[in-house]
């Protein structure tokens, strides 16, 4: 009779999830296959734990209070004293109930067929969900998110995911921004997701007759159909190289006034950008530099405009010029005649 699992008193902050336990597990599992040197152990711990962890963990394992886990086999090597080579703990109730909660997440369901989802539901039948989707209300999410329930979209998503996991090129029938259809061959690099847009984009590189081209971003919602390509992916292709977005050399600089809680609002709002902030006591203001991807310039511009006069945009000049144009144009719309509009946002 299976014991009923409950989610009372669950905690995220437990040592079994900790980096030290993970590091020691890594050492012991490796040491069960082959004797390890000190250098091996330092390397394994560094890959699992924090900056100074190795200097604390390794001496405890070799010559300290945890040394009953290892046995010295040579002058400078150690092997595991444990009989089992796999020390993977069973999934905890927290982990299982989190997975159970995900079964109601439309995005999570994209990864599976209906049959697989049924199988998952059966396996997690006894587990209570950690939360319900209705516990959360995403009040400012855009209304035109991707159609996760549509069969065509699910098929595209799963094929794109296959291309990524199996490192294959992808043929895609794509509908461009102006409704024009095209066929593309690309090498997928990463699937990018935005919670605000509630959309997936495929970051990829164009690929034509076996030759690697330039970075290409495809909205998943606009891929009408796709399949894996038989053209082999060149060995030299490193998909990590292409996901690093190019940051503008010169950041946008803003001055934040000490009023209307502007500092905190700005710091939270722009927390997704790399930024640097300095307080200027003479003016009781903060100078903030925001580093951004050039492809996000318009988005950043309208975000900054939404703060109104509690921030002042100082530069760079090309950015400031766009702000001036819009603000002056707004003044003209309110107080003067306007003939036409050129810019877009």
């Amino acid at each position: 009779m299976p014991q009923k699992e409950t989610i009372e008193n669950l905690s995220l902050f437990e040592e079994i999830y900790g980096s030290y336990f993970q590091a020691v597990r890594s050492v012991l599992e490796h040491a069960s296959f082959t004797p390890l040197s000190l250098q091996d152990m330092y390397g394994l711990v560094r890959s699992c734990a924090f900056e100074e962890s190795a200097s604390g963990i390794v001496p405890k394992l070799t010559d300290g209070p945890w040394s009953s886990l290892l046995e010295k086999t040579g002058e400078k090597t150690w092997e595991s004293r444990l009989k089992s080579s796999s020390l993977k703990p069973p999934l905890t109730t927290l982990q299982k109930s989190w997975l159970k909660a995900l079964l109601s997440d439309r995005r999570f369901r994209l990864f599976f067929t209906e049959e697989q989802l049924e199988r998952l539901s059966e396996d997690l039948q006894e587990i209570p969900a950690l939360y319900e989707q209705s516990d959360f209300h995403y009040f400012d999410q855009y209304a035109d998110g991707d159609p996760y329930e549509a069969n065509e979209y699910r098929a595209v998503f799963q094929t794109v995911l296959n291309a990524l996991t199996e490192n294959k090129a992808l043929f895609a029938a794509y509908e461009g921004g102006k409704g024009n259809s095209m066929t593309l061959e690309v090498l997928p690099c990463r699937l990018q997701y935005s919670q605000k847009d509630d959309k997936f984009r495929l970051l990829s590189v164009s690929f034509r007759r076996g030759r690697i081209g330039s970075p290409t971003i495809l909205n998943l919602g606009r891929i009408k159909a796709c399949h894996l390509s038989r053209t082999p992916v060149p060995e030299r292709f490193d998909r990590n190289r292409f996901i690093l977005s190019e940051q503008q050399n010169e950041p946008v600089r803003i001055r934040i006034e000490n009023k209307r809680n502007a500092l905190e609002r700005c710091m939270l709002h722009f927390a997704n950008y790399e930024k640097q902030t300095v307080y200027e006591p003479d003016t009781d203001t903060w100078l903030c530099s925001l580093f951004y991807d050039p492809s996000d310039e318009t988005e950043l511009l309208i975000e900054l405009l939404s703060f109104g006069p509690v921030i002042r945009i100082l530069g760079p000049e090309s950015f400031l010029k766009q702000v001036r144009e819009r603000v002056k144009r707004q003044h003209e719309l309110f107080y003067g005649a306007v003939q036409d509009t050129q810019d877009s946002f």
């Binding site: 008193n9 069973p90 209300h137 996991t165 997704n272 939404s306």
Partner: protein
């Protein structure tokens, strides 16, 4: 600093410092007045260890500024999860963890005395039965061990793996975990599932990712327990503006989430005031479960009925409904995307085409004051604004005028400032 420890016992110790370094990053040692300089040094060093790749230090006349700097588009997995993986433990905790996993890996159940004997025999460690018993109980609560009666005592065995862990489906599940560990509530849990497999995300990346809010997840877990059990909740609410803290009691109903800032709010019903209120999750501390509310579903339903009238997190003041209209100039031939913006960002407001290139957006909400940032994002296109709340209208008009003074008239000052 010989007594420096990387690990911590209490998560709240690191929560505030990490948030300050991540969000602000301009404070120097002396400005962390709430704690001693030595506490600051320890917390700073700890965070520098957890997030070594993202720490920046700058030196100013007032001292060293430490900041956590990262571009969320370049991040594959939230580095702040490191804080959750830093709980301290005793030597015995660690030894027992691996002894139990090793001894019970054969699938057989063992009583505490049997475990004690086996530990002594195989690993040469003499551990008190009570300590082994406590650890077994703790692991049973976590779901790692299962117990059954064996005569007068309990025998423990490892919880069996999920059936799907043996199937090819598990690889698909782990791909879905790579995604969900950065996008679903309590994503940290997903990161521990990946750790368990020595895996990390290599498939996805993110845009508009607000990582700092993971620091509120333990508080959120207690709040969700209260919601699931339909209980009232008491908690401390810290005001970031006044620095003051008050203890409040209310009925927790829903978590409001901003996808544009990552901020999360607890929506509470305060019975004495007969009001719904949203309070920032990062300002809530020490939540405690109170009595069950028999009418929980009724209040939840009331909230559901109110949601279409909330622009954001405000339920308004005395006037129960305000209407705002904004007339915009949109050159339809080449600016269809602006119409798209109004449709996807308008939160149920009505959009009408008045005539060629002129569109009217109208929305009725509890508090139109919350709409102002959105309205200002259309700067350069607004032909006219009307609002039933005159104060809102005055504010946005004054803001647009101030911006004109700032950018339209003061170009010379700008040039001087840039040169400076």
């Amino acid at each position: 600093m010989s007594d420096f420890q990387e690990l911590i016992k209490n998560f709240d110790r690191v929560r505030d410092y990490m948030r300050q370094f991540f969000l602000y990053g301009f404070k120097v040692r002396g400005e962390f007045a709430a704690k001693s300089g030595r506490t600051y040094d320890n917390e700073r060093r700890r965070i520098e260890n957890y997030l070594a790749d993202y720490i920046h230090s700058d030196y100013t006349s007032k001292g060293k500024q430490v900041s956590i700097r990262m571009d969320s588009k370049q991040i594959l997995s939230n580095p702040l999860y490191a804080a959750w993986k830093s709980k301290s433990f005793t030597d015995r905790d660690l030894l027992l963890h691996f002894f139990l996993l090793d001894l019970l890996s054969d699938g057989n159940a063992r009583t505490v005395p049997e475990l004690g004997d086996a530990i002594s025999l195989h690993y040469g460690e003499e551990l008190d039965s009570q300590i082994i018993r406590l650890k077994c109980r703790e692991y049973e609560k976590l779901g790692i061990l299962l117990s059954r009666k064996a005569g007068k005592s309990l025998a423990y065995r490892l919880a069996p793996p999920l059936r799907l862990e043996e199937a090819p489906l598990y690889d698909t599940l782990l791909n879905a975990v790579k995604f969900s560990s950065e996008t679903a509530p309590f994503g940290f849990t997903g990161s521990t599932i990946l750790d368990r497999e020595f895996l990390s995300n290599d498939l996805f990346c993110w845009k508009h990712y607000f990582m700092v809010h993971t620091l509120e997840d333990e508080v959120l877990l207690t709040i969700l327990t209260a919601m699931r059990e339909h209980r009232f909740l008491s908690f401390e609410n810290h005001s970031t503006r006044s620095g003051k803290s008050v203890v409040l009691e209310g009925l927790p109903l829903q978590i409001f989430v901003s996808t544009q800032t990552g901020r999360r709010y607890l929506c509470v019903y305060f019975a004495p005031k007969r009001r719904f209120n949203c309070l920032r999750l990062d300002c809530i501390f020490k939540p405690k479960l109170l009595a069950v509310c028999p009418e929980y579903e009724r209040y939840r339903e009331k909230l559901r009925q109110n949601l279409p009238h909330c622009w954001g997190v405000s339920f308004g003041g005395r006037s129960r409904m305000e209407t705002l209209s904004m007339k915009l100039y949109i050159k339809e031939a080449c600016e269809g995307h602006i119409i798209g913006r109004l449709q996807r960002e308008g939160r149920g407001g009505e959009l009408l085409r008045i005539r060629e290139n002129v569109w009217l957006y109208t929305g009725s909400f509890f508090d139109t004051n919350e709409m102002l940032p959105w309205i200002k994002s259309f700067t350069g296109r607004i032909l006219d604004l009307q609002c039933t709340n005159q104060a809102v209208l005055d504010k946005v008009t004054a803001d647009l005028e101030a911006m004109y003074q700032m950018y339209g008239k003061e170009e010379e000052d700008d040039a001087a400032e840039r040169n400076h």
